[in-house]
Amino acid sequence: MAAEKQELLVIQSGDKEQPFRYAVGRYGSKFFMELRDHKKLLGIRCPKCGKVYVPPRQVCGPCFERMVELVEVGPEGTLVGYTILRFHFVDPETGQPKPVPYGYGFIRLDGADNAFQHFIEIRDESKIRVGARMRAVFNEERKGNLADIRHFEVIG
């Protein structure tokens, strides 16, 4: 076909939301209630490999073993890896732009074997490095969700 000049159309999908309702489960619910009521963080230990996971969940994937033993972890830990987000993007959960720049890191909480991801406080970027000691900062008003932790900050 000869290259003729033609307008090519795009049809926009509708702007209606389709909200979901996700079950957190028994252990996840316990984690959020302890966080809300006592500012405590919970992990769970695998009876086979002995690893402690945060957040607590029912199954250790590598062992395919059911876990039941909840243990307290943190609220301090060590920074495993991090980034500072600087590009503008839309949060698909809210439809709103994310407040960049923000710090995002993985913290190995004391007593846990895996890492817990959350915001990290970036007022002094020079203090943030892999291996830094971190602590959780809790919000005064807590609702029983992940945002009850405001962020993690470098100790000292």
Partner: protein, 385 residues
């Protein structure tokens, strides 16, 4: 014993930012037509179709049924397969399994994506856990940036070392008429591009692309009749290890390390750098071109920058990586892993034109996706024993 399986034809679209002249079905049709043309087959010769993409990028479910006009699946066994970023490579592995089973002789395998139709970062975020991962996660970029931070801290690797990977892939892409970004960049241009997520800059990262790829897998009874020099599949392996990002070990991509160890042991590869002639790797960002080739056993952990700076992985080097220009030059996500497979097959078949590596006997391709998962395939010019 499974049947031996070979790739006998490949087809790709000319990948680009936005294909407004075709809808998804028509984009798929283009790649399928080119694969049939390459193998000199008609759709009536094909006895099954598997197709894949990441459906949340287009918001169209049941892609296997929706795409039937373009995929050629009319009246044939047709199914969909989706494993996130690894979709394309998982399609190739599944295609191999289906033909090796003896139940299919000529199978059409299709990967595609129209990334222009939605917000890629938003859509990727919805692939992660809604309760624990999404609050702070920022799509593929943030996870890769964290991996880079750990890699740099562990081995003292620099941002300049990583930039050398982008420079290589973008240079190679200029030789590939199907690649999306066909313009060379310099180390300085990479270093000075906008910072998106420390330590990553714009030119450390892959683009978002519209494109499709189709690959025809054939059984040993028919492969050499269709194609004088088919690309035999020597082995495959994969590792999808984690549910939650926090469970990941960020050093040297353990999923790829373990998958490649399995593949090498199944196929008798002891010295990958010497025994393998070319690699098409799913490297979605620059640092992966260092850390992940260490995972593949090309050198010791932390030593990849030397290989890059010495030109070992450039076209003309001892082991060229990504003669096609790789993922940093082109990323229609559901097709990307299958493009690696098609490009590795083209190298074996001797059909890679300007990007051809001379005398390729063994080629390797990978796929990467989701929660640091890996797929890997090995191909040979010689029919396996």
């Amino acid at each position: 014993m499974p049947n031996r399986v070979a790739i006998v034809g490949t087809g790709q679209t000319h990948h680009c930012t936005r294909r407004l002249d075709v809808n998804g079905v028509e984009l798929i049709y283009e790649a399928v037509g080119r694969a049939l043309e390459d193998a000199e087959l008609k759709m009536k010769d094909i006895d099954g179709v598997i197709i894949g993409n990441m459906d949340h990028f287009e918001g169209i479910n049941y892609v296997d049924c929706w795409s039937i006009d373009g995929s050629g699946g009319f009246g044939k066994p047709t199914m969909k397969l989706t494993t996130g970023g690894t979709t394309g490579s998982t399609l190739a592995i599944a295609g191999y399994h289906m033909v090796a089973s003896g139940m299919f002789d000529k199978l059409m395998v299709i990967g595609w994506e129209k990334n222009s139709e939605s917000d890629t970062t938003g859509a990727i975020t919805t692939a992660f856990d809604p309760i624990w991962d999404r609050l702070v996660f920022a799509g593929a970029i943030s996870g890769l940036a964290v991996e880079a931070s750990v890699y740099m801290a562990t081995f003292g690797v620099t941002e300049r070392d990583a930039a050398r990977v982008t420079v290589r892939d973008r240079r190679h892409a200029c030789l590939n008429p199907y690649a999306h970004l066909r313009k060379e960049v310099t180390i300085e241009e990479v270093m000075n591009s906008p910072r998106l997520s420390d330590p990553l800059k714009l030119l450390d990262l892959c683009p978002r692309t519209d494109g499709a790829c189709a690959v025809i897998f054939a059984s040993e009874h028919v492969a050499e009749k269709i194609c004088p020099k088919p690309a035999w599949v020597l082995g495959t392996a994969n590792r999808h290890l984690y549910t939650y990002l926090g469970d990941t070990d960020f050093v040297n991509l353990p999923s790829l390390r373990r998958a490649s160890q399995e593949l090498y042991s199944k196929t008798g590869i002891r010295e990958p750098l010497k025994q393998i002639d070319v690699m098409e790797l799913y490297l979605p960002y620059s640092f992966a071109g260092l850390s992940w080739i260490e995972a593949l056993g090309l050198c010791k952990p932390g030593e990849a920058p030397r290989l890059l700076w010495d030109g070992v992985t450039d076209l003309g080097g001892e082991l060229p990586i990504n003669p096609s220009g790789g993922v940093i030059s082109c990323n229609p996500i559901g097709a990307t892993g299958l493009i690696r497979c098609a490009e590795a097959a083209l190298q074996i078949m001797g059909k890679a034109d300007k990007r051809q590596v001379p005398d390729v006997k063994i080629a390797l391709s990978t796929g990467f996706g989701g929660c640091f998962w890996s797929d890997i395939l090995l191909y040979g010019a010689k029919k396996p024993q």
